[in-house]
């Protein structure tokens, strides 16, 4: 039982990161119906930004308190990654709006290839290790279960961000504009909503969450490489589909589920096949629940 709880905690930590990335996928899909394949690489870019900020802090200033360092890493990574995402949307996706369905998918795949190779060319192909930022952990009283501090950081940061994000989507003008664009883009435009701006902001918000996920990933694993965008990206997209693409709570639920499945499968069966397990469960869920766990079933008008 203790082992199970320990593994579940590990799974939830991993799942939080997937959930943060998955929100970016699901929001973009909800509004413009496009799989943003470059999102995984935007996440990787965010982690690289955080890594460079961390190094800049230690080289130029020296001993910075960990909390402050983490905060700075997150904020700078969020801002710059948001800027990247805005530019990507402007250059590669907006010209193709209203074109046929596969066109933006192809530019997104091209962007994904270009981004990871750009980072490889500018930063070199080797893994980038950083010294551990947060050490230690606490044991739960009376058991052998321990929660590492870095796991707590991940869960707390994710919870705060999700709350802020929920507020943004449900209680602000921008959120209302986003929800209306999701329902009917043409009608929203007729009612005076700047659709292009709203879509841009959606990309920026998704990228910011991905940047935080990247920072947390870097803090948790202590290493990042230019290829690290693909697998978390695909898993997060899997999470978004599993939860029901287009649904924001679905993305979080899907992310947590994928994280749990991965951790528990590695713990009880075989660590080699953990990705196979995640993908198989995706296929099985979709076969029986074609619109995901929390997604609305697609109604087709003839």
């Amino acid at each position: 039982m203790e082992y199970f709880i320990q593994q579940s905690i590990n799974g939830l930590t991993l799942g939080s990161i997937y959930g943060l990335i998955a929100i970016g996928y699901t929001m973009v899909y909800g509004i413009i119906g496009m799989i943003n394949f470059a999102h995984g690489d935007v996440f990787m870019l965010g982690a690289f930004m955080a890594m460079i900020v961390f190094l800049a802090l230690t080289t130029f200033i020296g001993g910075v308190p960990v909390v402050l360092a983490l905060l700075l890493m997150m904020i700078v990574a969020m801002l710059l990654t948001g800027l990247w995402s805005w530019t990507i949307e402007r250059l590669a996706y907006r010209p193709l709006r209203g074109s046929f369905r596969l066109a933006p998918l192809i530019t997104a795949i091209g962007m994904s290839i270009a981004l990871s190779n750009f980072v490889q060319v500018t930063q070199g192909p080797r893994n980038k290790p950083i010294p551990p930022l947060v050490n230690g952990g606490i044991g739960i009283y009376g058991t052998n279960v321990t929660i590492a501090y870095k796991q707590m950081v991940i869960i707390i940061v994710t919870a705060i961000l999700l709350a802020a994000f929920w507020y943004l989507v449900n209680r602000t003008t921008l959120g209302r504009a986003q929800r209306s664009c999701e329902q009917d883009r043409k009608m929203a435009a007729l009612l005076g909503i700047d659709v292009d701006k709203t879509i841009s902001m959606t990309f920026v918000m998704g990228a910011m969450l991905a940047a935080v996920a990247g920072t947390l990933y870097l803090m948790f694993y202590g290493v990042i490489s230019f290829t690290d965008g693909f697998t978390p990206g695909v898993k997060a997209f899997t999470a978004a589909v599993l939860g029901g693409i287009g649904s924001l709570p679905g993305a979080v639920v899907g992310g947590l589920l994928i994280g749990l499945i991965e951790a528990l499968w590695s713990a009880y069966f075989s660590i080699d096949y953990k990705d196979v397990a995640a993908f198989s469960i995706l296929a099985i869920v979709l076969i029986f629940l074609p619109s995901g766990i929390l997604g609305r079933p697609e109604v087709e008008k003839v």
């Binding site: 899909y29 799989i35 690289f48 930004m49 890594m51 460079i52 900020v53 190094l55 800049a56 080289t59 710059l80 800027l83 530019t87 250059l91 590669a92 010209p95 193709l96 046929f100 369905r101 596969l102 066109a103 998918l105 192809i106 530019t107 795949i109 091209g110 962007m111 994904s112 290839i113 270009a114 981004l115 190779n117 750009f118 980072v119 490889q120 060319v121 500018t122 930063q123 070199g124 980038k128 950083i130 010294p131 695909v234 997209f237 899997t238 589909v241 693409i245 080699d272 096949y273 990705d275 196979v276 993908f279 198989s280 995706l282 296929a283 979709l286 076969i287 074609p290 697609e298 003839v302």
Partner: protein, 465 residues
Amino acid sequence: MADTQKTGRESVFAKAVKEGLLAAALALGLFSLIVGFRTDQNIRNELVLNQRWGLLAIFVLVAGVGRFLLTAYITPWNVARNKNKRAAVEREQSTFRKSFPKIGLGLLLTYPFLVILILTAYNGSIMGGLQGSLKYVDNFGIQILIYVMLAWGLNIVVGLAGLLDLGYVAFYAVGAYSYALLSTHFGLSFWLLLPMAGIFAALWGIMLGFPVLRLRGDYLAIVTLAFGEIIRLVLINWTVVTKGTFGISGIAKATLFGIPFTPGPTGFAALLGLPNSGVYYKIFLYYLILFLALLTAWVTIRLRRMPIGRAWEALREDEIACRSLGINTTTTKLTAFATGAMFGGFAGSFFAARQGFVSPESFVFLESAIILAIVVLGGMGSLVGIAIAAAVMIGGTELLRELEFLKRIFGNDFTPELYRMLLFGLAMIVVMVWKPRGFVGNREPSAFLHKRKMVSSEFTKEGHG
């Protein structure tokens, strides 16, 4: 009149300056960290920062000046050109364009001999020509034709039936591994295993097709992606059979109906009394893959006229209408998957025979993405367009390996290979933004009344099936 034009010109100029400055500021923000600093490991394996402000300045300058030129000169010039163009009458297709498939086919059939002739003339000896042509026949000819064949195979699934498949490389892998395993364990010949690999891949296509029949559009895409990844992960982890990431080496070569391409007395060269050279095998492989690719094209063209091909195209245009007309969508989808997968399997077994080595490294998602990109960039459903796209994208990136002269410009540290995939990704974006319908956007109708008219790309719709 002249005055208003001048002020118009000046306002364009002012706008260009403003946009150029904005672009420069944006580039400064984007590249400040990722280009301005480079992280490298020192001796103790710790990361250290190196500052590269000069490079950052170049990036910012290029962005600013580029944007300025674009707004000030290129866009007005383009607008003026388009205005003239619209006045021109719609032109009849030129003879070159009409007979392009025939010219291309002739070129493809004679390509190895053309290369050998040119190189013989260049080097002054036949042996020099033969050895020199190895690289061109292998790296350009065979490599491009493999992608042409794969893209034509995927075209059946994506272009004709409108089913978005992101895991096509899985069938390529099934074909390659079935040849590799059956030939190393049982010693079966290439000609026996080629159809078997195709059948295995087709069976996998049906197996994967069954569960995803109910899924549509992007759900289908993600599940096929997942299947592609599952097959790759199984190939990596099932080490007892597949030897994992080490891969299977020493796979038997293909033979010309029993005549091996070996230097011995029974070999091809000795039998025909030709000087020994590895180039015959490459030329043989070239014609083999050309034959396989043309077979794919021929089957596609024939199938399009048959009821099943029309059912695929109907499925792509509108699934509900298709079903209400009494077409069995289950068998239609499954045959599309199986036919596409079969050609992937053929290409896979050819790949294994050519390389003599297979490993899961060759079957990553990137390959699926490249094949899909070729199909879409070529204009979905157009065989000629797809062939052009494959030649441009694969040939272009292969050419980068040959650009030795760039070293003289940028110094010896410059390796063009490093930029291969970066440029490939950027090219995908640029081509797609420039021609969203692909190189050949028009489509030939499969059914017509009296006269065959090209269907403009505006009228063709890609289904959500």
